[in-house]
């Protein structure tokens, strides 16, 4: 049993047992890990709000042999990102970044650049940058740092030259293949129909190159923003292996009710 100390960002936190929480962190030194925080939901818990989603804290954990679930012993808040809890749009965009990191990162997969990028994304949202655009930009960057940067220089399937296609004079993007595809490959792929304008392709390339701190200098609006949102959403679904909760969660589809008791009509 050894003590681990590391800066961490809380990705999600769920109730466990009588008064405990199981918390998923992305940490600077050990990558993604999960820990149980005993008594975290009690009124006088020593954790306070330090284990709430998006909080950047200094974390102490005990690592147990042969157990993926660590024991959280202390968490001191560095940045609470309290502003993200006061605005639904900013909250939803922060949730998308946390969900993406959680979905595409294996436990123990360490990357200080990914940690810094997630932190920079939360800081940008807290500073008041456009929530939807910030989520888009930082998703592209996080995908790149996780090894999923969409290929945009040559056809991702055959390596051939890319040509602008159709009336829109755009390129075809295949989420399943992970990048742009040439016309002949697009016809053979069932998902090769997403059209990206040359401006959107340049935007993706630039977003992958910029440092996290400089990312928010990039802007995009109108039809180009819509096609980028659609493309990245489709690509994230493929990479994550499932549909992540939508950024516009207020329009989410209804789920099965948690209670089974009878209802009045």
């Amino acid at each position: 049993m050894s003590l681990l100390k590391t800066p961490a960002i809380t990705l999600r936190s769920r109730r466990w047992g009588e008064a405990d929480r199981i918390v998923t962190f992305y940490t600077l030194r050990f990558g993604k890990l999960r820990g149980v925080a005993r008594g975290a939901r009690r009124l006088k818990s020593r954790f306070g709000s330090a284990l709430e989603p998006f909080v950047h804290c200094d974390l102490n954990l005990f690592e147990k042999a042969n157990d993926h679930l660590h024991r959280v012993t202390q968490a001191d808040i560095q940045e609470s990102f309290a502003g993200l809890r006061e605005d639904l749009e900013r909250m939803a965009s922060a949730a998308r970044l946390a969900n993406l990191v959680n979905a595409i990162t294996a436990e123990g997969d360490q990357s200080s650049r990914k940690f810094e990028t997630l932190l920079a994304g939360l800081r940008a949202l807290q500073a008041g940058h456009d929530p939807g655009l910030t989520a888009l930009l930082f998703q592209v960057k996080l995908l790149e740092l996780s090894g999923y940067q969409p290929r945009t220089d040559h056809c991702v399937t055959c390596g051939g030259e890319l040509h602008k296609t159709g009336e829109a004079k755009g390129f075809r993007f295949s989420p399943m293949a992970g990048g742009l595809v040439c016309d002949s490959c697009a016809w053979r792929r069932p998902d090769g129909g997403l059209v990206l304008s040359p401006g959107s392709v340049a935007f993706l390339q630039k977003a992958g190159q910029l440092t996290p701190e400089a990312l928010t200098r990039l802007t995009v609006a109108g039809p180009m923003r819509r096609e980028l949102d659609t493309t990245i959403e489709a690509y994230v679904t493929v990479v994550a292996g499932k549909r992540l909760p939508p950024v516009d969660f207020l329009a989410a589809e209804p789920r099965e009710p948690a209670y089974e008791a009878k209802r009045w009509p």
């Binding site: 006088k44 609470s80 909760p245 209802r263």
Partner: protein, 200 residues
């Protein structure tokens, strides 16, 4: 000691293990306790479980657990019908009721919004609250959702929904728990408690 997977006792243990906080050993202990208990006592427990599952419904007005069309609070004419306190779960309602400090009515959302899990307004009983406001007579809605990211999202959403009806919307106070040393409070709680200070 372990019990094999066959037979009536094993079936009881399997069912008990499904309860929250009950592991295999505890389930075995409970099963043997029930085995040793008087027949009438054990059957009373079974009957109570059956009665709860078949007899309880949601109150038509506030969505609290009820035994009839309306719950005990909505039926009570002595309660203040101009105030509605909104909670996420029935268990919170009973915690507040135990204090005896609130004499208004309740509204139970049966959940909370969650941007992390994609739980939207159609998963909670928010529209039923709006319907109650449309009926008129409500002067204040007190939002007592949890001070978590889900509870905050729910409170912000409900505030936008309720404001157009002209009723006062308030949020329960954040702050230092009674009996705690201030120096041990975390940053967010401290800031919130200073923001929510009141005149003496």
């Amino acid at each position: 000691m372990s019990v094999d997977n066959q037979g009536l006792l094993a079936q009881l243990i399997r069912e008990l293990v499904r309860l929250p906080g009950i592991g295999q050993k505890t389930a075995q202990r409970l099963a043997f306790h029930l085995l040793k208990t008087e027949r009438d006592e054990a059957l009373r427990l079974a009957e109570a479980i059956r009665a709860v599952k078949e007899g309880l419904v949601f109150c038509r007005r506030c969505r609290n657990i009820a035994e009839g069309e309306l719950c005990e609070f909505c039926r009570d004419p002595k309660r203040d019908h101009t105030k509605i306190l909104v909670v996420e779960e029935p268990s919170t309602l009973y915690a507040i009721e135990r204090t005896g400090g609130f004499r208004g009515l309740y509204h139970v959302l049966l959940g909370s919004l969650s941007p992390l899990d994609g739980i939207g307004p159609s998963d909670i009983r928010a529209q039923e609250l709006v319907d109650r406001l449309k009926d008129g007579g409500v002067q204040e809605v007190i939002l007592a959702t949890n001070p978590t990211i889900e509870g905050e999202a729910t409170a912000i959403y409900l505030t936008k929904l309720i404001k157009p009806f002209g009723a006062r919307v308030s949020r329960i106070a954040y702050g230092i728990p009674v009996g705690m040393d201030i120096e041990y409070a975390d940053e967010v709680t401290l800031i919130k408690s200073i923001e929510g200070r009141r005149d003496l």
